[in-house]
């Protein structure tokens, strides 16, 4: 951490501040310049409140040099984390890597999570599960608890939806992914393999803490207005509780552009890969809000090194109870899968 003093700071004030820093256990290196003096703080500065420092009359600026995220930081954990989700599906070829009874994500292994936005009926979820499995999806997604902007909109089938997902899991062997909105529901997610935290709950710290005490893989979606650093700080909340099985998901951020529902921040893929060892997947469905943009965005994800994609697939999109406009038909999904495979093969 660097503390810049104003030129009007007296020697006494400066020495007082240096003494205070030393009491906090950090070493101070002083650089005296013509217009300002710079204090370089060395040691564990995580307890020092930057905002407080800035308030002092003699301080002109304070800058942090090291990242505030620790357990997720690649600096201290250089190898890619590979997430392993138990599956009953057999090993498959690219894309959608499955090995030794696990669907993998990260470290060169590409996860394909597909399924409807909302679970609507046993028939629907089982049919979609079979269809997406047939062309290489490695996990089945389906919303049971749905966060909706309006209290008057369909809120999901809730616990019944989770039961239908379990049936689809039994029928196909695919591990299942579903979103949680309330820590009190954790028990209901016993048979769910990957618990999703939605964008709106990315900074629901109470929920994150509770999930840190589970043994489930967490799929953590980036909030609509959250920085990559904040995404990693939310991962830290889960990791601090002991659960280090986290998949990060970029799903579009909110910008001034209104043509697409959100703006897919594709550069989050190389950026997060540099910052963290956790795997990063892309959700081309929610980020664009348009079925016709899902294919090109999924291919972009595969080409730029994402560790997977999460795609909405519905057997009958125009009749879907939510987010129909962005869902692919199974046939369209099939085509995307075959092109993803080609891109990944080409870049091997």
């Amino acid at each position: 951490m660097i503390t810049v003093l104003k030129s009007n700071a007296t020697d006494e004030q400066r020495n007082q501040l240096i003494k205070w820093f030393e009491e906090q256990g950090v070493k101070v290196h002083v650089s005296v310049g013509e217009f300002q003096t710079v204090l370089g703080l060395v040691g564990d500065t995580s307890e020092i409140d930057m905002d407080m420092l800035k308030l002092l009359d003699i301080v002109s600026d304070v800058k942090r040099i090291s990242e505030p995220y620790k357990k997720s930081n690649r600096r201290f954990h250089p190898e890619d984390t590979i997430i392993k989700v138990p599956t009953k599906c057999e090993e498959e070829v690219e894309p959608g890597n499955v090995k030794d009874g696990f669907a993998l994500c990260g470290g060169g292994n590409f996860a394909v999570i597909a399924g409807p936005c909302s679970v609507e009926s046993e028939e629907q979820i089982v049919e979609v599960a079979k269809r997406v499995k047939a062309v290489g999806a490695t996990m089945l997604r389906g919303g049971a608890f749905k966060p909706r902007t309006s209290p008057y909109a369909f809120q999901g089938m809730k616990a019944d939806g989770l039961e239908l997902l379990s049936i689809a899991k039994k029928e196909t062997g695919l591990p299942i992914v579903s979103e949680i909105m309330n820590e009190n529901h954790i028990d209901l997610f016993e048979d769910v393999d990957v618990i999703q935290v939605g964008a709106r709950n990315m900074q629901n710290f109470e929920l994150l803490k509770a999930l840190g005490h589970t043994k489930k893989t967490i799929l953590l979606k980036r909030g609509l207005a959250n920085t990559l650093e904040e995404l990693l700080m939310s991962a830290e909340y889960i990791m601090a509780g002991g659960n280090e099985d986290i998949i990060l998901c970029e799903r579009g951020i909110r910008t001034f552009e209104q043509h697409t529902r959100n703006t897919l921040d594709i550069s989050a893929v190389p950026a997060l890969h540099e910052m963290t060892h956790l795997p990063v997947i892309i959700d081309p469905s929610h980020s664009t809000g348009k079925a016709s943009y899902v294919r090109p965005m999924a291919l972009a994800a595969a080409a730029c090194g994402a560790d997977g994609v999460m795609i909405e697939v519905h057997n009958d999109p125009p009749r879907a109870l939510s987010d129909g406009a962005q869902s692919l038909t199974p046939d369209q999904f099939d085509e995307v899968m075959s092109e993803i495979a080609k891109v990944r093969e080409a870049l091997k």
Copy 2:
């Protein structure tokens, strides 16, 4: 709702769609143009999924005409809602209106909510409470459960903090305002008069639903990347549960500008006053993140018709455990109060 058909839609397709709309209980008025046909839908269209409609081959666009918020909509409730919070303080002069045992907010009554970001000790909270009461604050704020980006940062005194707030309430008569982060904590908030929902939880729909079943006034803060319409939809979640005592709070939105912590959207005041009957207050402390900008922003709020302000005051800002950089000293707060009073008097 308006549905625009593509020019290539056949008469049969058009009639089929019209029939489907009529089955949903809405009347359809058809305008045939040279390049496109427009269907005007009249009646309750809240059940019709716009995104789904847009997916149909023959549909080129769908536009909603009426607002999706109902209970908070000024159209159906033209008079200002006046929130009444029980207080033991006596009637006071401007600003910070107190009448008949209630601190008021809305309909020309100006609420002044002041206090430290975090409750730190009995001595601190009682001292601040006395100081802010003396110059006209009508409610005491203090954080007990603190949402922090980092799991390694101070998380608040939790239940102990709420108890200290109760002591300050007893000593001064001021009603108390504190933030909730978890529906499981509602019982702990029994003595809290106004429960705050923070920006990060504005779309924590499970929490909103739970608060809809309480009898407490809710202070609902706008999320960092949420539109005014979404803020009202979150108010709807609370109102749909039966609790209509809501104060809306603009506290800065996230933009590209980095000089201030957030960007205070001051035009939210006239905009929300047009859209809704609920009162709207401004938080100049969190929106700017700088103590020196609090005074000008509080005066702007008073001048443009806000129904109150929420200001961080700390007896010793440089030593505050959180957000010290944006807190006023009691003396600075005193000055702001006297200037707010002048502005409000001038514009009466």
Copy 3:
């Protein structure tokens, strides 16, 4: 400037870099820490390319400590700049300060610039000029060259519009303000007292350079996505040419919020007052895009210490050729002026 070295930098590499810095004429202070070494650079670092430095293998981060703006920096020019625009109007009372033949802006003097978005006819501009002068406007605005998103929209009366403004100036004595879009038009602006640079041209550096060589006061509007620092850097372009008569104008930034046309960044007023000695005015018309929000935003501007406002007034808003929706009638403007006067009187 601070340069942080990676822990793997060898002593030789470090010494080489230090030597290079010293060749550039800056002194280097070294702080060796456990995990990293920090080089504090003292002296004129404006020639050192931060991005280039960051590229070096041994460098982990580079941070600038001093502001890149110089002539506009309050640090080197603590007193407020007061802009003086020659006027033939007599001295007036608050608001809209006129003294000794000059309309003033800055240093406690409040400028009121009012008039139609576009000049449409002699009758229109003269009538509006008389009306706004009567209630205290100190300058007349009127667009002759209009930047329009669409090439098919009305582009202004151009040179003819400037002549009509001159007539209105002769009739009322009010100095005139009009927007320039092309450096080749500078000669046409001879009789214009304040030349406006619109938001879209804030970083049209060629235009800024050309205006730096004129003797006119420049009204520089902040771009829709420009930071406050960039606004000051654009002012530097003009000042570097020798013209230091600049009024800064906040007119709304582009955010995700769509209810208002732009988001008025009201905290730009105290922020710019801290950063620079140049005066700062607010444009409540373009920032909100709605006539009904102009009054509350103009009052907010007056209350928070802005050095003036720029308000669109039209004698017949519904028939205005551009931006009718945000224009006030002369009667509405009258009311705003009287309330601004009250607020300024109250806060004296």
Copy 4:
């Protein structure tokens, strides 16, 4: 266009408005609902001012249905436009399509524009030109006039830089691309094959108009805060003047995220392909600001169907006079080119 009337509009008012619309030459279809009446306007509504309409007392909302861009609209020009830039290079294999003496962009042909941010010397630009040509670049870029935020930063070699580009063109046969900042410089660009309009000048309408009267291909970059629709409206300015040879370029938009210099809006590729027939290329260098993100973003561009990329390449990035941090070395560029070729081959 749709005009929604308020429920309190009288029959007389409604009929008056309808009569006025009919005088403007548009047909009106009326849909009377319980709460509101909707007027569907059919015909050429481009002259009707939406903002003005909204101002009327009886009007509650106005919505435009058809797009405001015409010449660039794919609706009226369904086939892809293929831009042909004369070249002396021979035909090449993928990527970077050259045929019959033209470098192509659009309609399945992929343009690769590469070169340094700034032209610095003859030796530099000729060396880079040879290197990028050798691995398949089809055009050479080099900045001669540089838009810099600070007036104190290097502003480019100007006319001398253009001459050095001509030398490099002669030596290699590659067509050249360079940025213009002032319409008065058009004559200097005689030997330049593609004139670039930078992000900051995207709405410099005077410059766009002047370029509309040239015969040069224009590379139009999206502004930092401009919507896709605005980008097309700026293309309309050029096309309205008679010049329809335009390449659109997405180069990152400004958002709250600070980790990357800008946020690459990769979904602009499929979105613009749907909206317009003009080709769309991606600039992975300026959008991310980091050399290490250029490769993954260029691959994403190739995979999602972009019509080309524009990449900064410098023979000695750490010593580059501008934007060194985001430039590739020729070796790195070589690798990106070979991977782009693989992706394009795979997706053929």
